[in-house]
Amino acid sequence: MFEEKLKEFEPIFYPKSIAVVGVSVTSIKAGTAWVWSLISAGFPGPIHPVGSKGGRFANLEIFPNLRLVPGEVDYIIVAIPRQSVLELLDDCVAKKVKAVQFFTAGFSELDAQQGHKLEEQMLEKARQGNVRIIGPNCIGVYCPEHKIPFPMGTLGETGSVGFVSQSGGIAAKLVTTGIARHINYSKGVSFGNGVDLDASDFLQYLAADPKTNVIGAYLEGTRDGVRLFNTMKEVAKVKPLVVWKGGRTEAGAQAAMSHTGSLASSAAIWSAMLKQAAAMEVHSLEELTDTLLICQQLKHWQGTRAAIIGGLADGGGGNSVSAGDACTENGLRIPLLSLETKQELSELLGEVGSILHNPVDVSQAQFRGLATLFQAIDLVARDTAIDFVLIQEDIDILLPIYSWKGIEEINEFFTELGSRQNKPIIVILPPGSAEPERLQIEQKLLAASIPVFYSMERAAKAISKLNQYSC
């Protein structure tokens, strides 16, 4: 599906050469930072700085005009004032540039009339000259595989999650959150005002891209809702699509004479559209990244029957109860364990002080050693009544009982157990006072493809979203 987009977008995500327009050595300019970011990231092709005053930057010649750049240029990043953009588009056409991304802001988002008019003129020039526009008012492309970072941004590892974002700030935050939580992107794009290429175009590309398995999106509005709806329907058929619609409270319902008109708020219609397109709707950056993380870590897995282990030593009681609430409220089930599992658990842990229902209390194992703890968790994971195990691991509680070495062993066991039982082990690591140790554990588990969340509530929500996907 949308295979034609792969070739069309090749110069955007895999350009052979990039020119950056708006570079100066005498004053601090966004273009200068961009050149530096590309060099630091190790972009594999030629980088050509362009700036009216000329000179040299980072050992590269600054060309006073785009037309003077030698050889072919696939992709241009533009950070110049808006009054110069039409002239620059003429240069792009003359130079046979394939795509141009405008960081330049101050168009329709600022001034509805003037800005809109200028955007239309840009589009007309671009269409005539066969140049594609990304933006304006955006930070463009992120492609770790081809070493293209966001400006002033770090490159994360290459992965399988793709994203589109109307906002540059959210796009950049997705990347940094991804680096912190091992959400590894195939590519992403911030498309700003989307005068030419918009969300639909990039969603189609990501649907076709063989390196992308999951797609996230942050959207505020659309210029062509029908096309977006039809695109999402097609995209969600082939890949999980997670959408966060910002600006849900905007006044969208106009004065209407019918009941239907007065009840049809913009937020209600967006939610209906997403549901109808089989996209998963989320309402915050946290929900978006949680859902992308679990899609990435568990791929095509689905399951609703949870075993809950609220704690590995003391203090898991209240947490088990609230975890049960979180699961139930998100449509997950907490089935009873089988009789055999219960019998084996009671033999292992002793009847006194242990609650061998589900949520399961394994805290008695702390008096019998790690081997007993592992056996108990293994018994729970093996039970055929359950699809996955949710385990809360509170480093603050575990450190004095098991020491750092014991905690490391516990987490190695989780990794081994997950692959041996072929059932997801989902770990909750709540932030606390032992933050450096907690972070180390989080990184290790994430690298081993185990989903890690900060609360049972967030885990339950993400698992529930994953189960919404129906292809």
């Binding site: 509005g221 659309t222 809702g225 029908v226 709806f229 969208g252 106009q254 209407a256 004479m257 019918s258 009941h259 239907t260 008109g261 009840l263 049809a264 913009s266 209600a268 219609i269 939610s271 209906a272 559209m273 549901k275 109808q276």
Partner: protein
């Protein structure tokens, strides 16, 4: 009162809907008391009389609706009352007469409507009728065109769904018939882009059918 050339009367609206295969309680226009009585006799009592004017949107607010009329005398009296009270409430309203329709036996009241979203075009709304739609806003939406699955999901999405399944001895409503009606409305508005807004309110849902009792179409 809304003065508009674009508002179709109930009789006109139902005529278009019927042609599109959407089940409606048929309403006939009576331009005089005599006509109202003869149409009533043809239809069989009891009947309902409603003011027929493009200018009167909230018909019952101005005394423009009389229900459960059991004989010719009652119909004649109701005709006079409707005309005089609407004339009093809206002296400028253009009155074409009254619509006459059979009194539908009570069913579960639902509403199906269409409105145009500035970003996504025509959207269909579904909800339970009466107070539930107005106060609780217990409604669901889907973008046109709707599949049968979309229709089924939007029916099940409302909080009041158990009422449709039959509540406290009330007879259940046929969900397939409602689905079918919703899909037909979707097709109808898709084929007629000049329709700006539409309300089928109420629709009576029965165990074996769903019928629009009142209908309003507003053109662009």
């Amino acid at each position: 009162m809304i003065k508009s050339q674009n508002v179709l009367t109930e009789v006109e609206s139902k005529g278009l809907l019927k042609k599109a295969g959407i089940p409606v309680v048929e309403a006939k226009l009576a331009r005089s008391k005599k006509e109202a009585i003869s149409i009533s006799k043809e239809m069989g009592f009891p009947v309902v009389l409603k003011i027929n004017s493009p200018d009167v949107v909230h018909k019952s607010d101005s005394g423009g609706v009389k229900l459960g009329l059991a004989n010719a005398t009652q119909v004649g009296k109701a005709y006079n009352e409707i005309i005089s009270s609407v004339k009093q409430a809206y002296p400028e309203a253009q009155i074409q007469g009254v619509s006459v329709q059979p009194m539908a036996s009570p069913g579960v009241e639902v509403i199906v409507g269409m409105n145009k979203d500035p970003q996504f075009g025509p959207v269909i709304m579904f909800g339970l009728g009466g107070i539930l739609v107005e106060v609780l806003k217990d409604v669901s939406f889907r973008i046109v065109p709707l599949t049968e699955r979309d229709a089924r999901e939007m029916i099940k999405e409302i909080k009041g769904y158990p009422i449709l399944e039959g509540y406290r001895g009330q007879k259940p409503a046929s969900i397939p018939k409602l689905e079918n009606l919703i899909v037909k409305v979707s097709q109808f508005v898709e084929k007629n882009p000049q329709i700006k807004e539409l309300d089928l309110n109420p629709i009576f849902a029965y165990p074996d059918k769903a019928v629009a009792v009142d209908a309003r179409i507003i053109l662009e």
